[in-house]
Symmetry: C2
Subunit: 483 residues, 2 copies
Amino acid sequence: MPTAAIIGGGVIGGGWAARFLLNGWDVRVFDPDPEAQRKIGEVLDNARRSLPGLYERALPVEGALSFHEKMSEAVAGAVWIQESVPERLELKQKVYQTLQEHCDAGAVLGSSTSGFKPSELQGCATRPEQIVVCHPFNPVYLLPLVEVVMTGANDNADQVADILRGIGMHPLVLKKEIDAHIADRFLEAVWREALWLIKDGIATTQEIDDAIRYGFGIRWAQMGLFETYRVAGGEAGMKHFIAQFGPALEWPWTKLMDVPELTDDLVNAIADQSDAQSGAYSIRELERIRDKNLVAMMRALKAQDWGAGALIRAHEANLQRFEPKPLPSERTGPVETVRRVVPLDWVDYNGHMNEARYLQAFGDATDRFMEIIGCDATYIALGGSYFTAETHIRHIDEVHAGHEITIVTQVLLGEGKKMHLWHEMYEDERLLATGEHMLIHVSLETRRASAPSEAVAEKLSGYARSHVALPRPHGAGRAVGVK
Amino acid sequence: MPTAAIIGGGVIGGGWAARFLLNGWDVRVFDPDPEAQRKIGEVLDNARRSLPGLYERALPVEGALSFHEKMSEAVAGAVWIQESVPERLELKQKVYQTLQEHCDAGAVLGSSTSGFKPSELQGCATRPEQIVVCHPFNPVYLLPLVEVVMTGANDNADQVADILRGIGMHPLVLKKEIDAHIADRFLEAVWREALWLIKDGIATTQEIDDAIRYGFGIRWAQMGLFETYRVAGGEAGMKHFIAQFGPALEWPWTKLMDVPELTDDLVNAIADQSDAQSGAYSIRELERIRDKNLVAMMRALKAQDWGAGALIRAHEANLQRFEPKPLPSERTGPVETVRRVVPLDWVDYNGHMNEARYLQAFGDATDRFMEIIGCDATYIALGGSYFTAETHIRHIDEVHAGHEITIVTQVLLGEGKKMHLWHEMYEDERLLATGEHMLIHVSLETRRASAPSEAVAEKLSGYARSHVALPRPHGAGRAVGVK
């Protein structure tokens, strides 16, 4: 495998090291910091637990990592050399001089700088054509963006883009060099506004973060600025949107800013570029794509109980919980354990709810039934839980996003460590699927079978005794393919 | 149920209508636009397909929607009145005068304005204390943020916040009124920078959007600005971060901007607020939370094949696909159909891979096997596919995030419309689970069973004939609870 040299460890250098290693490259690190090995090790730990799982297939076998005391040793034969030393121009130029004495003339020499232009870095270099700004974003092992900035001296544009794509990154090649590249100009603009808001006592850091992550932040995570506004502008198009939005730029609160004049040329350039970018979709299609993305991301955050997802959880907790039916005093029929709408992100390429989501919904029904018999979050925190040992699902009919499903649950057996449940999933009166599940009570410490608490055992056997009077469900006890 | 009145339909008014309706409120709309009913109907369609599925339980029964020709009729008895008329101050003031003649004195009168301060709206109102800026973000039915801005005249702060939370929104209450509130100041700042970048030919709209959504956009979707920088600053804390980052504000490219001086007071205020916001977590914990959020959101986008998720798909497609083993000429053993790492977001409250993710992985194995026998994306686009009719999973052992799993697949029967598969999931040599699945070939048009193409049938029966020589897998043909 090819070799990458990392000059300067730390969070950014360590992130680059992880990107290369986990994509199969050998990585050599040069960093005089005695803590470099520990620091890079910590970044690598984070990368190993997060990056490979993004993929539905295995990444290449991890490359070899080595630490070197001499820069010459680290860069000899390397195909890519990434410099992430502190932001001092003289230091960077000195580093390039040393390493160009030892590296291959065909190697890429990428700089992580956010503050310098490539012409500055190339200034007094032996081979300026090797040096290119490759500015990544933290965490480098997860975020794909790399701003690539070159000058007329460079001749390695294709090589740079190919290698970056090969390690899963997105090379965003700037047409001209410019101070702070692109993204950091936006970050600085927002940072300046944020400083004013805090200084003037309008909002706290928390409130500013909430203003971002509960609103435009999650919108930008999928479409960015212009495509979002294209949707907002509606069928009337980007020109109309700018006509509406542009005048705001002349409001008093922009008095301190230099604002470009919205000439016809500029408006046309924006509208044309927006057509090239998003014109393949109608506004209606873009709305639906946006909403599906938002739902998928908000549900992802909900599973993590964070940000906008934590808000949904809080709202949900306040919605009146439907009663388990029938009420405890009349436990004779199956218990309603789920009533919900099929989310947009549960649908697969066949246009219906994906098979795994049937089990997710049955799993939720099981969780709810556990809660009803007292095996709730508090109980689980104390070290007891039920694990599913076996599942049998019969898919009887299809269901689509936006439709309400209910699940009713019958206890087939509740005795000792065993809980044998039967779930039926309906849309109105239409049976969609059945789920038969054998669960075993476990100790979360030993991860082995153990007896439930007396209170749980008693509630469970109460249901079991009353449900034994119910008719044996059609399909229970069946093996796959047996009618 | 309480009633909300929507004054001014369109995308924003329609979004408010959807929020209230889907949370059980009755909604009355006043909008002189003859197209209002159609426009709100379209927003409602979008809301109905996306909002309820965010929740794991049913929302209240949808309220009643009605359209009214008289403002007086729409607002009489309403608990909340939301004004979303065009951004002209005289028009808004006139609307308030009319509706305050007819509405309850205790009703909330919210304005969706992004451009006016509450003191301006309250200017010549009969009861200024009712009027409050409630500025939402598009799509209003999904994004939770509402900027709430009041003056000393208001006495309805608790009422406003309670009602907004009740419909799943997040009231962000500004400490003082300020032009453009908070979020739009950030949006304007970025918009101005973006105009310059396009005007100067540095980047196109597409490149600007990519610079946002592949980098800081997805970071901001979960943590916002300050918490993100807190993590970047590391254990040294926010003060250290500002010391590093602050000087950049004095670079030449900020020459046109007025930048607040980073006095000790301002730096301390930021550091203290950041401690109050995020101090409950160590930096290491925040890093791991951030990464888990990013992985969950990027995987959500991957399922939608959009944004950063589409990049991961493209990278994945270029990773060398492991060969199905054994090769076609020597089809005697089970076929390797999945080799992947367990993602961070597949783990549940028990600390191991969630039961539904076992079926997701088995589903992927089935998809891969379908591909191997020629039932691939092209075939499916032509109208044929296999649907799972029945599944039997035996959970034998636990597995955790970051670990590699493989699945091997054996054909138990491949005949006519039926495909009976046996999957075994391993971590190295350790058997984690078995999956037995009966699939039926269907026509995607009729959604009924149909014969596969000859080519698919032939490949499948080839595997079936060679696999019949393999030992019958231990556990095949079992019913739940039978040993």
